[in-house]
Symmetry: C2
Subunit: 449 residues, 2 copies
């Protein structure tokens, strides 16, 4: 369920360490002081790494997994009889009725189920698609492959995945449909610290990358976007609402209530359509949409939500496909070169169960390589490649993209990702768009030199 149009606004040039908070620049001197201190820290760390014989384990410079998926020992076969929020007849899974005291309710449930607490933060990934066949020929097949792609990522990272094919609120369709699903998922998964919504047309193209959750400690909602485009350009494309992390807490329930109040089921739907259209000159269709609604809340500060919203742009938390797809083959070649000359550990065969051990090795190697950045000029694998505007299911793509760009592009990204998984099973695709696969020789790719 995606928007009709895509965001083709050129990305702003941000310095590598630009803060991605969304607090506008007109704040107090406190911010100026903080900026100064931050710059001093940068200089210090730069000098320190030059002078010190020991590399700084610095997660700001390389996105090593700060989150391990080691499963803790859960007990799923016992539910104590003690009352919890589930036993409250006034609590509903539907979006028409607000939830209150969720943090306390969750805490109480976790106290009764101690095996679900502790260890690393738990993420539930949620995605989905429509409950009937796609109109376009490749549509459902691409959805299937994309679902597999998410399932592969989740299996490698020990993350649970809920793929939904039901329209929970018949009036909240298209891009609005995810909100009732996320809400229901939060109630069904009180053990989840985060819900990670990922659109059906967003593909994981770096299987080895883990979310740097520490960065988001002080926030409740993480999206890909640029503050500059929010405040200066006032663009509806300043962020993307198709991929986000939302914390499982009361703030999020309240936020979703406000967000959903802009939706088609709301009496204020038309009013929001007009307000969004008048605020965002580049908005391409008149009806209220979820993305414009989000930008509006951040831009205006209405409701105070923005303080807890993190706009990430230092890696492809989600990446616009048009700036990625033509580079995938080069990225593949570059990784092959690095593996051929790099340490044997990069080529070592291993069980899928210890995948993250090798992800850690690779990320450490990448951290030493010049140009191994994520972004339009770097050669690091993009984390997520999002085919926003392609509409693979309906076929109603934005006409600035050819069918090839979209369809072939999606197959390319899926194969690019699949190769990272198939490798564990001893195979790879014969080419970037081929369905055929070939066995990998021992010590691949050194054996190919």
């Amino acid at each position: 369920m995606q928007m009709q149009s895509s965001c083709s606004l050129p990305r702003p040039k941000s310095p590598p360490m630009a803060r991605s908070s969304i607090i506008p620049s007109s704040l107090s001197d406190g911010l100026v002081f903080t900026a100064g201190a931050f710059l001093a820290l940068l200089i210090f760390l730069g000098l320190y790494s030059f002078l010190s014989p020991t590399p700084i384990p610095n997660r700001l410079f390389s996105f090593s997994p700060s989150f391990s998926s080691t499963s803790s020992h859960i007990d799923d076969t016992y539910d104590p009889p003690d009352e919890t929020f589930y036993d409250d007849p006034t609590l509903t899974y539907t979006i028409d009725k607000s939830i209150s005291n969720w943090d306390e309710k969750r805490r109480h449930w976790l106290k009764l189920h101690p095996s679900f607490s502790g260890g690393r933060e738990r993420i539930l990934m949620v995605s989905g698609s429509q409950p009937y066949p796609c109109r376009s020929y490749h549509g459902d097949h691409l959805l299937l492959r994309s679902f597999k792609n998410k399932a592969d990522y989740c299996r490698l990272h020990g993350i649970e995945l809920f793929y939904n094919t039901a329209l929970l609120n018949p009036s909240m369709n298209f891009f609005w449909a995810k909100i009732p699903v996320i809400r229901a998922a939060m109630l069904a998964h009180p053990e989840a610290d985060w819900i990670w919504w990922v659109d059906s047309d967003a593909i994981f193209t770096d299987m080895e990358f883990s979310l740097p959750l520490d960065r988001y400690r002080a926030h409740n909602l993480v999206l890909h976007g640029w503050p500059e485009l929010v405040y200066k350009k006032k663009s509806w494309c300043s962020l993307n609402a198709g991929v986000f992390l939302i914390r499982n807490c009361q703030w999020s329930f309240d936020f979703m209530d406000e967000w959903a109040s802009m939706g088609p089921q709301s009496p204020d739907y038309e009013k929001w359509g007009k307000l969004q259209t008048s605020t965002f000159k580049d908005k391409m269709f008149p009806n209220s949409d979820d993305q414009s609604g989000l930008v509006y809340l951040i831009l205006t500060g209405k409701g105070g939500w923005r303080d807890k919203i993190y706009l990430e742009n230092e890696y492809y938390f989600q990446g616009y496909f048009a700036e990625i797809v033509s580079r995938l083959e080069d990225i593949t070649e570059r990784y092959i070169e690095e593996e051929q000359k790099g340490p044997a550990v990069l080529r070592r065969r291993h069980a899928e169960g210890v995948f993250l051990s090798y992800a850690k090795e690779r990320n450490a190697e990448l951290g030493k390589q010049k140009g191994a950045d994520t972004g339009p000029t770097g050669w690091r694998r993009p984390f997520v490649t999002h085919y926003t505007g392609c509409q693979p299911c309906s076929g109603d793509r934005n006409k600035v993209y050819s069918a090839d760009n979209c369809t072939l592009g999606m197959y390319k990204a899926l194969n690019f990702a699949d190769d990272q998984v198939l490798r564990i099973y001893g195979f790879r695709h014969a080419s970037s768009v081929s369905a055929d696969v070939q066995p990998l020789p021992f010590d691949y790719p050194r054996s190919e030199e």
Copy 2:
């Protein structure tokens, strides 16, 4: 990837506790003695349960989960540098080269990775479909829903799922394609005790049922079938090769080598076609197929494999859809009735994470109900409903089935299963074939009386 034809042979009438071993009746007196002892045991247990005030926790009479999915604490972020089979250049993932000493290789790997051992037996589910879009309109959408169905089952039971869309050996297509995939999966998952192959057209219709793995302790391959049909009818339909459990061990590698030697890539392919056709008078097409090949090995005892093959028919390890689909609505109604009059625990809302706790409660309740058997006359949910012969992807179904039987039938089974999952999220389908969903009231279904 399914067979062209379906098996429409009427199932034999087996007594409820018939042994499903496949050893023919012409063996020694030892078997007679064993049968007598078994009967004595049955009588004893029957009397004991009558006289004893405490119910016997008897897994022979009710399929309570003997397998809990409680995850053990694995460490996926460290792979020791010690050599394992992965470092052996002579070991390949492809089917053309045999594996030897696998049990020792696996044991060695597990010793180096102690966190992957212990606890319950680990299962890896493997399924898959073709790498290009389906010909038929509903095809890919049904595959997507079926994949979701498997992903739901696995998530509820803590089982990993690998969904494959690559043809690993270009000559081994259709039903042969699974063998190279299973083999590669065994190597990629040395921690898995079992690989559970499930065809793409097989749907899990009882989310609460867990495999009774204790039954298969002495066997390496489990399929649904009837010894009577193997030995007396000599039918190619005496078992179904679309759903099976295969132990991750040397026996299985050797077995798959022999099984695969009947495939299209083998120089003996034609010979096997003729041999199978002359042996099984009801075989409907002349080429060698995986299912007839299996029956042949059991019937003749060739290679000695049959001693380790278990033919399960006491529950729908896989169930032929044509004897199930028309009963699904009645089964739904019966479960609703039982929940309305049964204990509150059957209706209690809960987290998805403790699903198995409620599965245990339900299975205990079902154990007390008359007629709650699995089978064509019982009203227990069928474990797996297999649309064999429907060919949803190509559309080339067996003409004894109408498009409605197949397509609509699959949607019915998918909805039937989906309702068991959606319930956890507070919803259900509006009807057995409807894509629409409705919210569930508190204390459903008692609130509907």
